[in-house]
């Protein structure tokens, strides 16, 4: 029983970071109908940025904060370079997908050129390995911080979306871009800020994962990007609540399956689930019911 509870805790830790990543994905899809495949690259680049800053002696929290802002700015740049020109000529939904792949490749190339192809470990002893124990259960201090940061960001996002003018604009653009523009919403500014938020969240996820595992590597992004896809499909594309729920469900399901079943098919669970959802109920748990056409 205690083992199950421990696995649950591990699953929640994993789920929290998955959630931060998935929210960024689903936010952009919900607002712009774009599947941003460069999200994972920003996730990875921000982790490297935090690693580099930390290596230069910047204190951890400041390095993390700066890297998050860096991620957000990358997101704005991404929109300017890859999506805005396509929006201007009404290029549909498949072209932005492909251009996001292009930018993702570029970002990966820049990181590889700057840092080389190897993994990088945080210096031994620089990260806290403290464990907190509650009876038979234990959780790392870093993991606890990760959960706390993730939840804080999610609450902050919810506040922004529900109680600020910016949030209202974002929701309006997500509902109906043209109507929002007619009603006076500054489209380009709203979209840019949406990308900032989404990418900053993805960056935060990257930094937290980097800290949890103590390493940053070029393939961090590719490992999580397809899982993120599964999560937002499960939760319903465009729904933030769905993304959060889906992330925790996946995190717990993965850890439990490793503990109870077998570790080799762990990743397959996410995709099999995703495939099943797409076939049976494409709108996912919380997504909009209508089946979008291409």
């Amino acid at each position: 029983m205690a083992n199950l509870a421990q696995q649950l805790i591990n699953g929640i830790t994993l789920g929290a970071v998955y959630a931060l990543f998935a929210i960024g994905y689903t936010l952009v899809f919900g607002v712009l109908d774009i599947l941003n495949l460069a999200h994972a690259a920003i996730f990875m680049a921000a982790a490297f940025a935090a690693f580099a800053l930390f290596g230069f002696g910047v204190p951890l929290v400041a390095a993390g904060a700066l890297a998050i802002v860096f991620g957000g700015l990358l997101g704005i740049a991404l929109d300017r370079v890859a999506f805005a020109p396509l929006r201007a000529r009404n290029a549909g939904t498949l072209a932005p997908l492909i251009s996001s792949i292009g930018v993702g490749i570029i970002i990966q190339g820049v990181v590889r050129g700057t840092f080389g192809p190897d993994q990088h470990r945080f210096a031994i002893g620089s990260l806290s390995t403290a464990q907190l124990t509650f009876g038979p259960l234990s959780i790392g201090a870093l993991d606890l911080i990760a959960i706390a940061v993730a939840i804080a960001f999610m609450l902050a996002l919810n506040y922004v979306l529900m109680h600020t003018a910016l949030g209202r604009s974002i929701r309006a653009v997500a509902d109906d871009r043209i109507a929002a523009a007619i009603l006076g919403v500054d489209l380009e500014r709203t979209i840019a800020l949406t990308f900032f938020i989404a990418s900053a969240l993805g960056a935060a996820a990257g930094i937290l994962i980097g800290l949890q595992f103590g390493t940053v590597s070029l393939d961090m992004g590719s490992r999580i990007e397809l899982k993120g896809l599964a999560i937002i499909v499960l939760g319903g594309m465009g729904s933030i609540t769905g993304a959060v729920l889906g992330a925790f469900i996946l995190g717990i399901a993965e850890t439990l399956s490793v503990a109870l079943v077998s570790s080799s098919y762990r990743d397959a669970i996410a995709f099999a689930l995703m495939f099943a959802i797409l076939v049976a109920r494409p709108s996912g748990l919380f997504g909009k019911k209508s089946l979008r056409s291409a």
Binding site: L35, L94, I105, I106, G109, L229, A268, F275, L278, P282
Partner: protein, 273 residues
Amino acid sequence: MIAFLAAHSKLIDQIGINALLAVSLMISLRAGQLALAQVACMGIAAYAGSVGAIAYGWNLPTSMAAGTLCAMAAAALLALPTARLRGVFLAIATIGFGEVARIVEINVPITGGAEGLANIPNDANTAWIYGTLVAALAALLAFSRGPWVLALDAVREDEVAARGCGIDVGTVRFGALVAGGAVAGLAGVLYAHANFFITPGDFGFGRMEQVLVYSVIGGTTSAVGSALGAAALTILPEAIRFLHDYREITTGALLLGFIIFAPRGLAGLWQRT
């Protein structure tokens, strides 16, 4: 000249195989379906053909036939549940299919797992690869004025109107997926026999992304264009070797540049519509 070709024969083989893959993706893209399952079908065929060649001593044609049939079966299996999915959802479902296939390949003992399958007979030479490529291109070009390929174009342009003209959209989509799977299957078996060593990682999303790049740069609706795109982008990393770790940036920049400024790709140079 002959010496130059001989020295680069591995690269030339690679170009041929990548061209086949690009053509297989093009078939689906031409129907307006972003179905990213071709590399998964390639992998299935590669393993099917290789296991047969190693265990039962099949020669290349038998291996190709068996592998392609397996790939087509997989594509058919994929096409049925995804019949109602469009756009991004179809892309995601096919990516998921690809990932499941890859994970199964890692775990099923017959495939040799993550360490890969070795000792595949190395009997796919350049002639076989290019013969298949030319046959595929010729077939597509021969049919390009025929009702089947025109139906593909119609479904891409406007699915509702196509239905109104009496075109069975479901059959067209199914056919496109299976045909793409067949070509990808051929590419897969040739790849396995040309490299005599395959791993599940060879057939993952990374390669699928690359094939997508070939198609976009070559022209998503043109068979010859896709082949040219594959050729150009297979040669490119070799040609810009001097950029070392910055080579990726060039590929990404090319993809970005093409999709924004030249969305019809290289084929835009000669296509009229």
